[in-house]
């Protein structure tokens, strides 16, 4: 075959491809939400999501997975190693660790997520508007957030425990009171730079409602670091809850949480001889926190509009 005929054939093929490209035939019809499509393409985020959902569903469906009650004391089987009867073994007063991990997860996840979302909701709502509005309102809000951030958390916890009593709800309230400031600052600093962008100026020229500009047009562009912050602070709050429980100020000891379970295994003897009391719980907590972080990264990428997908 001569080169010229080969070239002609290639050219024809090329023209055809170009024609198809220009008419949009080559592109697969994109269906559904762009953000969702991008999220589904991110393998790590999917793995994170699966682990996250598995643990979450297991905690929610705890009564179906175990017949033990997390609070039932059984003095006949103290400190039993894992067996088919007790999957994760039993603790010092014969409670089933597997049941405690599942039921405890409910409380820990609720506290972690509740606090993180509460912080984010308050912080983002205030921070976004405060930065957009500027002026005296902004300076006032910054001072207020500083006051809240400078309250020592432990003292506040002790105060509230003394006044309201010990409960999971109070823990969440305390976490939100002490934590919204950092989210506020993050949202504020994001919006401060975005509000000088020319598209925001242009919306102002059109005279749109400031709330529409602020929450509909600016917020989506400020969201990605905030989402990552929410996921990270969920993990942080789960750990903080454990620390408070350890001090006897958190969730009451009789209610199982991941923190409470781990704290039962704080002495050296348990650590060395009864690994089932802390290792499975620790792994579950780590897996859960890690899966949240994977998901957070995935969501951050999908909310970043400059990344194609």
């Amino acid at each position: 075959m001569s080169t010229s005929s080969k070239n002609a054939r290639l050219n024809r093929k090329f023209d055809q491809i170009r024609r198809m490209e220009e008419s949009g035939e080559l592109k697969k019809k994109k269906s559904g939400n762009r953000a969702l499509r991008k999220l589904l393409n991110n393998r790590l985020a999917i793995i994170g999501g699966v682990i996250f959902l598995l643990i979450l569903l297991a905690c929610i469906a705890a009564p179906l997975l175990t017949s033990y009650s997390p609070k039932a004391v059984d003095m006949k089987s103290i400190l039993k190693a894992p067996s088919s009867a007790h999957l994760f073994g039993t603790d010092k007063i014969g409670r089933d660790v597997f049941a405690r991990v599942l039921y405890g997860g409910r409380m820990s996840i609720a506290i972690g997520f509740g606090s993180a979302l509460g912080c984010a909701a308050i912080g983002v709502l205030l921070g976004c508007y405060s930065a957009y509005r500027g002026g005296w309102f902004d300076s006032l809000m910054v001072r207020i957030s500083e006051v809240f951030m400078s309250i020592p958390q432990l003292i506040l916890v002790m105060m509230l425990v003394a006044i309201l009593g010990q409960s999971a709800k109070n823990i969440v309230i305390i976490f939100v009171i002490c934590g919204w400031g950092s989210c506020f600052r993050m949202a504020r600093s994001q919006v401060l730079s975005i509000r000088e962008e020319e598209y925001v100026q242009s919306l102002k020229v059109f005279g749109l409602n400031p709330f529409v500009i602020c929450y509909k047009h600016i917020l989506p562009n400020a969201l990605s670091p905030i989402i990552v912050n929410v996921t990270l602070s969920t993990a942080m709050f789960i750990l903080e809850e454990a620390a408070l429980s350890f001090l006897g100020l958190g969730v009451p000891m009789e209610i199982p949480t991941w923190g409470n379970i781990l704290n039962a295994a704080q002495d050296m003897y348990t650590l060395q001889n009864n690994w089932w009391m802390w290792l499975p719980t620790g792994i579950v907590v780590s897996l859960f926190v890690m899966s949240i972080n994977f998901m957070g990264d995935g969501i951050r990428d999908t909310t970043d509009p400059t990344q194609q997908g």
Binding site: E197, E198, Y199, Q201, L203, V205, N221, T303, P305
Partner: protein, 344 residues
């Protein structure tokens, strides 16, 4: 355009825009940045007014003050609405929306002038909604028509800004400014961020749209060759004041103010045999926080005399060969004579 039968569209009188500079522990206002310092200007219907000057001389501030993005410190801006002239600052909410419908802006930076997380349709949808286009089909039709008007395809409205090139984005920015059929469009360095071939493309587009839609432009730029190409009249600004204002060809033929002379001498000419007589200015633009007394330009002017340091020259009207020429210089008449000598 015949100079006598023009109708004024926007009249600016004694406009000042100062920005307070806060300093000290209690944030006391001590000084002001005098960004726009006593400007008198009339913009006529259907013209293109070029506004030139180096960076920091208050061009953009003037534009944004007209758009009410900044509050003027002093002075008034009177706009000719359909039902008579009104001061832009004393409008109620309804009239304010009417003013927003009339005056729009095209921004400088194509990177930041479109919301990256919205498609073009989503970005333009809210303004249209506000100005009374209720149904989705109507909005899509209007946006599609606009995109075609700026030489782009209708389907592009469902794309995101990062899928476009700089020139395309700038054209979308123009389409956005035109979406509610304004009368006055302020082009704030609208082509400065583009490279030269794209600049020409966008400038021609702006010219075409002006004729089709009966627009008036205020064209803010620092690029003198661009402004010569597009403007009917040119105003030269220096440190918050207008120093010279005339029809474009008149300004280029009879350059009177020493600052304008220096500016024009800096235009590059694509001719190796062209002998350059560049007037090099010494020093920098003084700080607008403490502008010099008298004529703002006196520190850098070769003709500077005692009077320049003491008295502020007003923007006065002169006639050169029967054409209006506004100059703010104590030695305007002498310079006009010199400029006319070259003609002969």
């Amino acid at each position: 355009m015949a100079s006598k039968d023009r109708k004024p569209l926007l009249t600016i009188k004694g406009l000042k825009t100062y920005f307070p500079v806060k300093s000290g522990f209690l944030g006391k206002t001590k000084t002001y940045v005098q960004a726009v310092n006593d400007i008198n200007l009339t913009i006529y219907k259907g013209e293109t007014l070029g506004l030139v000057g180096e960076s920091g001389c208050g061009k953009t501030t003037l534009g944004k003050t007209i758009l009410q993005l900044y509050k003027p410190t002093e002075g008034e801006m009177v706009y000719e609405f359909a039902d008579g002239p009104k001061n832009l600052e004393k409008l109620d909410n309804k009239e304010m929306d009417e003013a927003r419908r009339k005056i729009q802006i095209v921004f400088q930076d194509p990177q930041s002038s479109l919301n990256p997380s919205f498609t073009i349709y989503q970005s333009l949808s809210d303004p249209l909604k506000k100005f009374g286009v209720k149904t989705k089909e109507e909005r899509r039709k209007i946006i599609g028509d606009l995109l075609e008007a700026v030489n782009m395809r209708r389907e592009y409205m469902d794309r995101y800004p990062h899928e476009f090139s700089g020139g395309q984005r700038q054209r979308i920015g123009i389409a956005r400014a035109l979406c509610i059929n304004p009368e006055l469009v302020i082009c704030d360095e609208a082509v400065s961020a583009l490279d030269v071939s794209i600049q020409a493309q966008v400038l021609n587009l702006l010219k075409k749209l002006k004729e089709e839609r009966d627009l008036t432009y205020i064209f803010i730029t620092h690029d003198l060759s661009v402004v010569e190409y597009i403007s009917d009249r040119i105003a030269v600004m220096y440190l918050g004041r207008i120093v010279e204002l005339a029809d474009a060809d008149e300004l280029y033929h009879h350059t009177v103010h020493p600052y304008t002379q220096a500016l024009l001498s800096a235009i590059p000419v694509a001719d190796i045999h062209h002998k350059k007589n560049r007037i090099l200015l010494e020093g920098d633009v003084p700080s607008p926080m403490s502008p010099p007394s008298g004529c703002h330009f006196h520190g850098r002017c070769k003709q500077c005399q005692e009077i320049c340091k003491k008295e502020k020259p007003e923007l006065k009207k002169y006639e050169i060969n029967g054409r209006d020429h506004y100059i703010a210089c104590h030695f305007a008449e002498e310079n006009i004579r010199k400029a006319c000598e070259k003609d002969e």
